[in-house]
């Protein structure tokens, strides 16, 4: 089992979500986060251009069985990359080993609980 954590642009959330649902990956957790990356965005504030320190992003977390890692990653890659070729700020995907997964309702463990 793996935990896939993707940090993506806010504006791409709808696209990524729709693509994941289409790929039959329907159990996801989404949160709003902020962070530093290579991207610098300019915002207007009272007629001044400012560059905020922390840029708002969306974090998607998906726990998957090993057989589904590739399709999940490819789906996110395709949907979160902007303008076809990608831009600075499109985000990152982290894959970490997942030790255990427990469904609270039934108490079942492991791959079937995902």
């Amino acid at each position: 089992m793996k935990l896939i954590t993707a940090i993506i642009r806010e504006v791409q959330l709808d696209k990524v979500r729709e693509a994941l649902i289409e790929a039959d990956i329907k159990r996801i957790t989404v949160s709003r986060v902020s962070g530093h990356g290579q991207q610098r965005i300019e915002e207007m504030y009272r007629g001044q251009i400012i560059i905020p320190d922390l840029i708002p992003k969306i974090r998607i977390e998906i726990g998957v069985n090993d057989a589904f890692v590739d399709i999940t990653v490819n789906t996110i890659l395709k949907a979160a990359r902007t303008d076809g070729e990608g831009n600075v700020g499109d985000g990152k995907i982290f894959i970490t080993p997942l030790e255990e997964c427990i469904r609270i309702r039934t108490g079942e463990r492991g791959g079937t609980a995902i």
């Binding site: 806010e10 504006v11 709003r32 986060v33 902020s34 915002e43 207007m44 320190d53």
Partner: protein
């Protein structure tokens, strides 16, 4: 613009300003009581626009909250300016082009009314500004029908053109002393504070626009939840408060008819709200805050044309009927599947039609008596008046629908009215304003 350069525009502007002040005050005295109330009413009706911004703003997703609020706010800018330049003249001038709208060169830039006192004892400036607020809120109401998916620039052009070609003529027909609906039947079509002019026209136009644009991305399969019901409820409250200016101010006096309108307004809003949550409790099992707010609006919309002619029991019945029919209308919308996002037609269109038609059966006897006295042959029945109301409503519906379709159809050739898919996904706030409504939700 090439022929008519900036400099000549400036000169024209200065000439127009320079020629004001030709008309001295007539001998009418200012009625300070009426003037004070009309000034208050003017402020109250203006308060409805931020109220509407909050009401609509809370109902959309957080990525669209500022864009939706701006739909109301930008109307305060665009329509106020247009109203002063030509709007008042088109609405309350003398018939031109066969009565299509009015025109009076004294009203152009309001240059001839600097010292005018009206027969009602109020300065004409006060009446102008009071009516101007109605002109602002009407196009802002339409925005609820196509929320979350409209290009800001196209919207700005749309409300400007709509105000000139739909609102001003309708306002002229119903409220100007030489408007043709003002003289229909024995005592005219009854539209006390704008059921036809404001709510039916905005609701129907909203429906046409929503059908033309098509649904939002993901509608109706994706759940689209309000981002902040708290500001929606506060907005509904402000609308209720502001409506006292809207209805009671429409008596253009400070006296008995003001009190009658004010009472009818309160009763209809309360009974509408109460009845909506009752229906909801039986139908869905829970009384929702949004239901209560919708009931307030349905009641207020329905009593708007009627506030001058119904007694409290009549207002109560109107509130109840408006809530019932609007509730059924929204159920029907869900079945039909068109995307009137914030129910601009469902509440304002349907509620306005209910009010304008059914008020006929609830008119106070003294009004009918006066109508009979001024009718040809001395007889005037409820059904005579119903015919007049139905005709006025039909004219408003057809005119608003046809003109709105034409305006959007032609405008759409120049600026795409609907947001692009990317703009819609990113949200109106980011795409058109470069801002975020709730920056503080994230550490930033």
């Amino acid at each position: 613009m090439k022929i008519f350069g900036k400099r000549s525009l400036l000169i024209l502007f200065l000439l127009l300003i320079g020629s004001s002040g030709l008309f001295a005050a007539d001998n009418t005295h200012i009625d300070s009581g009426a003037t004070a109330w009309m000034l208050t009413s003017t402020a109250l009706v203006l308060l409805m626009i931020p109220g509407l911004a909050m009401f609509y703003g809370g109902l959309v997703r957080s990525k669209n909250v500022l864009g939706t609020i701006m739909h109301s706010f930008v109307a305060m800018g665009i329509i106020s300016v247009l109203w002063v330049v030509v709007g008042y003249s088109m609405s309350f001038g003398k018939n031109v082009l066969g009565g299509w709208f009015g025109w009076d060169s004294n009203y152009f830039f309001l240059k001839g009314i600097d010292t005018n006192i009206m027969d009602a004892g109020i300065p004409e400036y006060v009446f102008t500004m009071f009516q101007g607020k109605f002109a602002i809120i009407t196009p802002a109401l339409i925005a609820g029908a196509f929320a979350e998916r409209v290009n800001f620039k196209a919207y700005c052009f749309f409300i400007a053109i709509w105000s000139l070609l739909v609102y001003n003529p309708l306002c002229h027909w119903v409220w100007a002393s030489d408007g043709f609906l003002f003289h229909l039947g024995a005592k005219g079509a009854i539209d006390f504070a704008g059921g036809t002019v404001v709510h039916i026209s905005a609701g129907v136009s909203g429906l046409v626009a929503a059908l033309f644009l098509g649904a939002r991305r993901g509608y109706p399969y994706q759940v689209i939840r309000p981002n902040n019901m708290v500001i929606t409820m506060l907005g509904a409250g402000l609308l209720w408060v502001g409506w006292f200016g809207f209805n009671a101010g429409s008596s253009v006096s400070s006296g008995l008819s003001t009190a009658q309108a004010l009472t009818a307004t309160q009763v209809a809003a309360a009974s509408g709200a109460l009845f909506w949550i009752l229906i909801e409790s039986f139908h869905q099992g829970k009384a929702t805050a949004l239901g209560f707010a919708s009931g307030i609006l349905a009641g207020l919309v329905a009593v708007t044309p009627a506030a001058g002619v119904v007694q409290p029991y009549g207002a109560m019945i109107l509130g109840i009927l408006a809530s019932t029919i609007c509730y059924m209308g929204i159920q029907l919308k869900n079945k039909l599947g068109y995307d009137d996002s914030l129910d601009a037609f469902g509440i304002h269109g349907i509620g306005g039609i209910v009010g304008a038609l059914l008020l006929t059966f609830l008119i106070r006897p003294s009004w009918m008596h006066d109508a009979a006295a001024s009718a040809v042959g001395g007889k005037w029945t409820v059904w005579n008046q119903f015919g007049v109301q139905a005709l006025a409503v039909t004219i408003a519906i057809v005119y608003a629908a046809v003109m709105t379709f034409l305006i959007i159809f032609i405008l759409n050739k120049f600026i795409k009215f609907k947001s692009t898919e990317n703009d819609e996904m990113a949200g109106l706030d980011r795409s058109y304003h470069g801002e975020r409504g709730y920056g503080m939700l994230n550490p930033s």
